[in-house]
Every structure is written in C-alpha cells, then in structure tokens.
C-alpha cells in the first residue's frame, strides 16, 4: 500500500523540517520525503495543499473511563474524539476500575483499543496496589505488559517510606514515575485556588502550598534516588520554579501543563461555573503567566488535555459537589494553536510540545516523521476559523468550558499506521 500526501506544509520538529513537501507512506510507515522511493506505487493520494502535515498528537494524560465508568464515556466514544482532535497516541492513568495494577489489566485495555483500531493507548501502571499507597505493584510485569511508566494517579502516597521505595523500585526497571505531587492535608476538601475567588465565593480552597509541599517532598526523594520522574500538570508558578531549579541541578525530572491552565484562571469560574472545576485548580494570573513562560524556557515540555469526560449530572451540582475535570481531547490542538496566534510559541514549537516532546517523556518511538517511523499523522487547516460548540463534541463528555470560543486551526485528516482514521466531512470544512 503506497500513499502520498501531496504538497502539504510538513512540520516535523524532531528533524527540523518545516516546508512544503510530498510525504510518502508505504505499508503504514513513513517511506520518504519529497522524492518517492524506488518501486513506490501510489495507491492513494491526499491533497494537502494549504494544509499542515505533522506527526499525530500525543496526549500525556487522558481518562477514557473504561473500564469502570462507562456511564461517563467508553473507549469507543473517546477514541473517536481523539482522532477527531488529531491525537494518535494517548497515555492513560491507572485509576480505572479495576485499577491497572496487574499485567492482565494493562494488556486488556491495550487490546480493547487495538480492536477499535483508532489511537494507540499506552497505559501507566499503578505505583502501589489498588492505589492504596501501601504495597508496591509488580512493576517488572507491568513494564513487560506495555506500561510506559507508573503512577499513583490522583491519590497521594502519604507514607514517605513507601513513596521512596516505590520510585526506587520503578527506577530499577527504568520506569518513569508520573507524579501528581500534592500534600493531601493542605489539599483537604478544597475545590478552587486559595485566593480572591475562594474568598469571594466562599468555596473550600486549595492553597499553593498544597502543590509546593508535595513537589518539594518528591524532589527530595528523587534527589536521593536519581529516579526519572515526571510531574503531571503543575498549576503554580512556585512549583514550576522548583522544577526548573531541579532540572538545572541535573535531576531527571520533566513536567507538562494542561491546555486549560494556559488559557484560564480562577477568575473564569465567575459565579460557580462548574465547567471550570478542575484539579489541580485554575490559579492566579501570575501562575498562568509562569506556566506560559515555562513552555518558552523549556521547563515544561508538553501540553496535554488531561481529558476527563463526565455525564451531565456530574456538573449539575453546587460547585463543591460537582466533579472536577474537562473533556479536552477536541480542544487540545486549537488551544495550543491559540498560543501561536498570540505569539507565545512558533508553530513548530507548538507542534513539538504535542508530539516529539511528550514522546520523549513517555520514552516511545513516536511523534516524528523520520523514515521508518509509524505513519501516525495529523493534517490540519491552520487558516480555518471556527467557533467551538461543545454540543457537537464527539466525546461523550460535553464538559468543556471553551464553548463559543473562536478558534483557528482544525483537523482535516488523522492517519494511524498509514490508515485514515478520521476525515473531516466536507460540509464541516
């Protein structure tokens, strides 16, 4: 099977490519750029004139709700949403029900995704059994079963000895530990950033220190073990500073930011808008500014959706009783492009933060268009202007606060392993 994507603006940050090229795909792999390889037979063509052709997006954190919470979403619904958003690879946290703490669970989920035949799923295994923070999981087995790292998801491992040993054990197998570092006592039952909005609305608050105390503890443990760790979606300026300092000192730590923390602050909660209820919470403008500068100075090397689809009732409650999270697969690319329009990032930098850089965090061979790579490709129209309508999302969860935002840039095709997994219908183009 030979396919050629003609005359698109190919952007492949891993190889410093940004220009108009033909891209040749053979049997699901990238075959050549510009000139067809010998004996290439073109079975199919995509005219990408005026479109951007880049590696398929890699989302570092997405909850697809299956198994365990199929009333919120299913792999079927969410993988359709993923390919519509140009996302070809998803990393999923282990807090499904049952928890991904055995090789069998890790394999089962990958097999389900494989059957659906859309985006690839890379699971994270649980750091401790049933996320209870007491007993280590069989990490060698989880590694063998395809887990790209281990994590205790949103649950704090309170016991510092368990935490130290867990990251030591993970580093034995060179498994990266994905941390949601926070102090569970300071976090308490908080639902919003401690600041002007929590004071005005009288909502239980999560202080900045809930994050910085957690990050400080974990950094101290990383320092003594030298284990590779990734901090999930930091929300505060101070925590970004702490990670930047640790990186300068040579610690093997990386971090990402969610697309919504780059665009929203505590003030977007307005009067109890539960769609803006996220964890960690939206913070102050100063924090948002530091997250953006962290992308520019290289402290933060990925933007993710932190996708959390919900059924409508989960958000139809008083703020503190509503469930946190945004259904974000379909706004990941347009929100990132918005940073390009706002002159925060170049297009190539933006794409790198969604492709090769998260691939490096996950330590997977993906996110680039080098010859021989799997042909996971996202094609989008950078000039297409559209208004986001959360009612039209493919994700079963419509909980997205960017309703009616004007966006530029829209996915037209998504290829997975050289096969078209998504094509935008012409009436929507």
């Amino acid at each position: 099977m030979g396919m050629v994507i003609r005359n698109g603006r190919v952007i492949d940050p891993a190889h410093n490519v940004d220009g108009n090229h033909n891209l040749y795909i053979n049997d699901g792999f990238i075959a050549a750029l510009d000139d067809p390889p010998e004996d290439f037979e073109t079975d199919r063509e995509i005219d990408a004139n005026g479109l951007v052709v880049c590696p398929g997006l890699i989302d570092l954190r997405a909850r697809l709700r299956e198994p365990g919470q199929e009333y919120k979403a299913t792999l079927d619904s969410e993988l359709s949403a993923a390919v519509a958003g140009g996302i070809t690879t998803l990393c999923i946290p282990p807090d499904t029900n049952p928890v991904i703490d055995t090789p069998a669970m890790a394999q089962m989920i990958q097999q389900r995704a494989w059957q659906i035949g859309k985006s690839f799923i890379h699971p994270l295994g649980a750091l401790t059994q049933n996320l209870e923070g007491k007993t280590l999981t069989n990490m060698a087995g989880l590694d063998e079963a395809g887990c790209v790292g281990v994590s205790n998801a949103l649950v704090a491992v309170k016991d510092t000895v368990v935490m130290r040993r867990a990251i030591q054990y993970a580093s034995t197998f060179e498994l990266t530990v994905f941390l949601h570092s926070h102090d569970p006592w300071l976090w308490g039952n908080g639902v919003v950033h401690e600041g002007e909005i929590s004071t005005r609305l009288g909502l239980p608050a999560i202080p900045e220190a809930a994050e910085t105390v957690g990050v400080a503890r974990d950094l101290a443990l990383i320092e003594t073990t030298q284990a590779a760790c990734h901090f999930n979606g930091l929300s505060t300026a101070r925590a970004v500073d702490m990670v930047a300092r640790a990186q300068r000192e040579g610690l093997p730590v990386t971090t990402d930011v969610t697309a919504h923390h780059l665009h929203l602050t505590e003030h977007d909660i307005g009067f109890f808008n539960t769609l803006c209820h996220v964890a960690p919470p939206l913070r102050s403008q100063r924090d948002r500014d530091r997250l953006i500068s962290g992308l520019k100075d290289g402290t933060i090397t990925a933007i993710c959706s932190d996708h959390q689809p919900h059924e409508p009732d989960a958000k139809l409650a008083p703020f503190s009783e509503s469930e946190p999270g945004i259904s974000g697969l379909e706004t990941l690319l347009p929100l990132t492009i918005k940073l390009v329009i706002e002159n925060v990032l170049t297009l190539s930098e933006a794409i790198a933060l969604l492709t090769i850089k998260p691939a490096q965090i996950l330590n997977i061979d993906s996110g680039h268009l080098g010859v021989g790579a799997t042909a996971d490709i996202c094609i989008f129209d950078l000039e297409s202007e559209w208004t986001f309508d959360r009612g039209k999302m493919l994700s079963r969860g419509k909980n997205n606060p960017f309703h009616n935002w004007p966006f530029r840039g829209r996915v037209t095709h998504t290829l997975i392993g050289g096969e078209l997994a998504y094509t935008r219908q012409s009436e929507n183009l």
Binding site: G195, E196, S198, G202, P207, A317, S320, E321
Partner: protein, 323 residues
C-alpha cells in the same frame, strides 16, 4: 453576568442571590420598602394581599429554625401560601439531586423558592434552572452569601445611624466561614461605608480578604478603636477542628466582646449579632443584653426586610410570565 442573573430585562429585581453586583438604588429601595412594613407587626390584622394566590416554598436543605421562621412569617403576612420543606440530601449522586427536588416542586406551580443549602453556589444553580416566572431567594448558601441577613443588618444600622457614608464598621469573628460577613461586606461597600474592618485571628481571615474592600485586624483593641458599629459573628465550634482557634478561653480573652473592649469603640456604638449567640464565647452576657445591643431589634427587622424583598421580587413577576 451577575447583574444579568439578578435583574430581568426591564431592570427589575428577579432573584435575590447575593448582594454583590446589586445597585445602590436597589438596596435603598429594599430598606425604604421595609420601612413601610415595620409597624405592621403591631397592627390588629397583620396581613396585606401583595402575594395572595402565590406559593412560596421554603426549601431548606440545611436546617435552620430562625431564618426559616422569619421567612415563613414574612410570606404569610404578604398573604402567600407557604410550604416548608427540609429534604435530606445525600451527598452521593445516588440521592435525589437539588435540581430534581426543585423541578418536582416547580411542577406544582411554585412561584418563589427560598433556598438554604450547605454548599456555596446552590442558590445560583437553582436560579439558573428555573423558568422565567419563578423567583429564587438565597437564604444562605455554604460560606458564600446570606443576603437577606445582610439587608436586615443594614436596616438596623440605618434605624440608629441614619447615614452610611460617615460610619466605621467592624465585623468580628469567624470571617473565613461566614456567609453573613461576606454579604455584609458587599452591602456596606455598596451603601458607601468608608471604613470596614474585619477582626479575627489570622486563621479565621480568608486569603486576600482586603480584595473585598475591608481592612483586616488581628488586634481587637486596635480594630475596635472609634468604630460606630460592631458586628459579632457566631463562632461555630464544630468548624474549628482544633486548629483554627487554640481554645475557647483564649478566643474569648482575645476576641470575645466584653465591656472593656467595647470601651475602645465610640460611646454610641451599636453591638449587633446575627444570632444565635454563644454567651461567654464570642460575647459577654452583659454586653449582649446591655444598652449598646440591638440584637433583638435585628430579629424584629428581619421580618419586615424579608417582606420587602419578597414583595419587590414578586412585584415584577407578572411581566416576566408574559415575556
């Protein structure tokens, strides 16, 4: 956005959810209207037909005898049919949700919901989901707002002090958890009070409280110096968790209102309290019952002020049904 929620298209007050964002004229109108109801309780026949044929549901997800009773009396004096409900809410999603309860009652042609809930934002949630001809009054939502209490406090202050624009007001106690304090602060600011102080140990002052337009103090004698009005808040011990205050004794020593501390205020200072009072914890008995105290007047005024708010909201309701 908040103005859109609380006013209808013609600028009439539609819901009463929070003081924040209301016009000064609206607050003055509420106080003036309450004035006309104040002598009402002393009449032989204590009823006017303003809300005749209307159904008012007191929907109290959180228990309260005092507030519910004054709302009930206020609605009955306006000739409304009043129903009191205290549904038990389960915090899990398995129980009937707030909105389910409201929708059921709405189907029975309720005209006005008076809502109290333990969670901040509950009254907003309900107001977002009722049809245009149904009104919502917030009778206290979590730590967020208790706007009718704040209005009756403003009414009481105006009874004694006449003007707001020359006052120095101190609010003392658990500001962190107090919906009453938040609403009072907004009302005092909108009515033009030049100096508002909040006095509490730092554990009970919310972060960035200055942004609400107040001056924080942690020293009672400094904070009370030359104030015209002292509003004491109820200290709810069950919320203190052993870490917000060290002990009742130390709290009373430092922040309990005694005659000695009262002496720092102006000689004609008013002492107020939204009740119910904890004698010997936040206020000494001789002060609570003393000549400066207007605590019982607050209770009496509560009925007139709530009548006023209900009458104003329902006054514009006929028009909203048609549009």
């Amino acid at each position: 956005m908040i103005a859109d929620m609380q006013y209808d298209q013609t600028g009439q007050l539609r819901h009463f959810l929070t003081i924040e964002g209301l016009e000064r004229e609206t607050l003055v109108h509420i106080l003036d209207t309450a004035e006309s109801f104040i002598t009402f309780g002393e009449r032989e026949i204590k009823k006017v037909p303003i809300l005749r044929g209307k159904t008012v549901v007191n929907l109290f997800f959180e228990n309260s005898t005092r507030t519910r009773t004054t709302f009930e009396i206020a609605a009955k004096r306006l000739s409304a049919d009043v129903i009191n409900l205290n549904p038990t809410r389960l915090s899990t999603s398995k129980g009937e949700s707030v909105l389910d309860t409201v929708k059921t009652l709405e189907a029975m042609h309720t005209d006005l919901f008076v809502v109290r809930d333990a969670h901040s934002g509950a009254a907003f949630l309900i107001a977002h989901h009722v049809p245009p001809h149904v009104a919502v009054i917030n009778a206290g939502d979590g730590r967020h707002a208790h706007p009718t209490q704040a209005m009756l406090d403003m009414f009481t202050i105006r009874q004694y002090k006449k003007e707001f624009n020359n006052l120095n007001v101190a609010i003392v106690g658990d500001i962190l958890h107090s919906r009453v304090a938040r609403s009072q602060i907004h009302a005092l600011n909108i009515l033009g009070v030049p100096e508002i102080r909040v006095i509490a140990p730092k554990t009970l002052l919310p972060t960035e409280v200055e942004r609400l337009g107040v001056h924080p103090y942690s020293d009672m004698s400094l904070g009370l110096k030359d104030v015209d009005v002292i509003i004491m808040l109820r200290l709810q011990l069950e919320r203190m968790q052993g870490t917000l205050i060290a002990s009742e004794q130390e709290y009373f020593n430092l922040y309990g209102l005694t005659g000695d501390k009262l002496a720092h205020a102006k000689p004609d200072a008013l002492v107020m309290h939204p009740g119910p009072i904890n004698r010997g914890l936040e206020i000494a008995s001789d002060v609570a019952d003393g000549p400066h105290s207007v605590i019982l007047n607050q209770v009496t005024n509560g009925i007139a002020v709530r009548m006023s708010i209900m009458a104003i909201i329902m006054g514009g309701q006929a028009g909203r049904r048609e549009t």
